[in-house]
Homo-oligomer: 351 residues x 2
């Protein structure tokens, strides 16, 4: 297979981890005789520094002319603590999601047997956890109208959803559940929010098409509790943009490190693959950032193009690295000299 892959390393540890994913994809290409072409472009704070724009037109064009996008991370503390900054790195990511119509963000959360001890949660609570979160990604309060009054003393954000936006991700979530444990849990705040009530209505209607899948409802506050108390109760979690952001980062504690969590963002025409950890600026260039989330995102990319065998091989490499303790320091109490690059090398060699 021939694939044109746009690589957007972005900020912080983005470049280091993405480099490992590219390395692994190149090994796959060689091993399976595919032709993957990688083209690089800048995004985020790095792009602001270069061009003043967090998503330069050149970058967007490259993405639109590629089959898939491999994304690193975005964000820089120099913008975070300046509430009045006019341009911010995150706008680059949000615009990319919107422009490419990447409406479904898919975030698998798994408790690896070899890592059960690393989680702050007790083994018996998490062993066997296998959740897949479907987070809506181009609607809700992220993209609704924002206002700031002239005197700067009142600010607002609008959370808005339409039936179509809810329907399309709901179909994806139910289809995913059909080849999993056949359960979808809708997370919302329908006892307070009008938009959540629309979610509940539309999802209930769509669920009629999937009689073999069980639909459950959970208020987001309760969900935030249940994910820790009893994560094994979940199969597919379906939710809107903001709740999905919170719930999925929270769920990362189950695996023992956010450095393990990959994601795919898909739409009707494009797809993007990125680790769910952020730019982690404190770790930049120290060689301690875990590349596994990025490498597993590359595996999700292969899955997306139905290269299942290839994706599986990457996952085996990852599991092997975890088993042999070839892991970055946050997961490694034995060896502390294993760098981002070494983990990448190991998985590359394995392939």
């Amino acid at each position: 297979m021939k694939l044109k892959i746009a690589v957007l390393p972005g900020d912080g540890v983005g470049p280091e981890v993405t480099a490992q994913a590219v390395k692994v994809l190149k090994a796959i290409a060689q091993e399976f005789d595919h032709s993957f072409q990688f083209k690089y472009a800048s995004v985020g704070a790095v792009a602001i520094d270069e061009t003043g724009d967090p998503l330069p037109k050149k970058t967007l064009d490259l993405c639109k002319n590629s089959d898939a996008i491999l994304f690193g991370a975005i964000g820089d503390p120099k913008y975070d603590n300046n509430p009045s900054a006019k341009v911010r790195p995150e706008q680059g990511l949000l615009k990319l999601r919107k422009e490419l119509g990447l409406f479904a963000n898919i975030r698998p959360v798994k408790a690896y047997d070899t890592l059960l001890d690393k989680s702050p949660l007790k083994k018996q609570f998490i062993k066997g956890t296998d959740i897949c979160i479907y987070r809506e990604l181009t609607g809700g309060i992220y993209f609704g109208e924002k206002t700031l009054s002239e005197d700067g003393n009142t600010a607002s954000d609008l959370c808005v959803y339409s039936r179509v936006e809810i329907e399309r991700i709901t179909h994806l979530a139910f289809k995913a559940a059909q080849s999993r444990k056949r359960k979808v849990t809708l997370v919302d705040k329908a006892n307070v929010l009008e938009s959540s009530r629309l979610w509940r209505k539309v999802v209930t209607e769509v669920s009629e098409d999937y009689k073999d899948v069980k639909l459950e409802y959970l208020f987001v506050d309760n969900a935030a509790m249940q994910i820790i108390l009893n994560p094994k109760q979940f199969d597919v979690i379906l939710t809107e943009n903001m709740f999905g952001d919170i719930i999925s980062d929270e769920a990362s504690v189950i695996g023992g490190s956010i450095g393990l969590l990959a994601s795919a963002s898909v739409g009707d025409y494009f797809s993007m693959f990125e680790p769910i950890h952020g730019s982690y600026p404190q770790a930049k260039d120290l060689g301690i950032a875990n590349p596994i989330a990025s490498i597993l995102s590359a595996a999700m990319l292969l899955d997306h193009f139905e290269l299942f065998e290839e994706a599986e091989l990457i996952r085996e490499g990852v599991e092997k690295s975890l088993k042999l303790n070839i892991t970055t320091p946050e997961l490694n109490s034995k060896f502390n000299h294993i760098t981002t690059t070494k983990v990448g090398d190991f998985i590359e060699d394995f392939i």
Copy 2:
């Protein structure tokens, strides 16, 4: 001291747990020679059944003519799964908060030494945790304009905050931090939301008045993770309404049971005290609901009127009941015949 206390038992397990708190307050009154007068009124689904209104005028009037309100719980599944219901129990609670101007919801989260084993989190992660969450309670997306398009296919909720709303709770949070570990963590999503940027700006300004308190910022997604990974890093958490709802329920897992978590909702003129667990309808009338959250809410009520010694005595009673395993089933693997009422009786006797 003379106190007029409005008691609003509400739905589900509300009445059973509130009855224990009242019993304990009566014991305190007797022991310390206070005069507490209790007057009851209905709210929530119960009130809808009786009057069609989740907050009857009679109830609101009683609250306005009382010194404090003891609240049970609200919510009924028959409304939850009916997105088109016109009247819903939660409106009673929200209206009460708004009408009484209860803008600050204070939720302490503590890891009791005797209960460390009950938490899904490992001991070493939670031992010593002592967090106090200040959640804004009368603004944000809970109270902004809601719309549903005529065709029913688009719904929206507006999240709006003004400087004044942010300032007043920020002062309370910083004052609280001054008599604690002198740290406030603002939880927001300032990299995406305009309202969060206003929060960050105003809180930073107010913090200038409290040079002895350290201010930190955390994005809500990261906060949802940090609360589990390292809860001991927190002292006072300050946040807006929706994030506070999620984060505080999540934090309840630290204590081992949401049945332990009390809250106070305060404003310039009124104050209300309620367990943070909901109506828990499955447990209604089974005698298994934990009354401690309600009893500790009563202790917060006493604190509010500077009856510190009295409040302390209740807390000692609670700790003793936990130590002796006089607890409801969710915390009790030894005895499973200890009911809601028995826990109340024990603490009453202790006093």
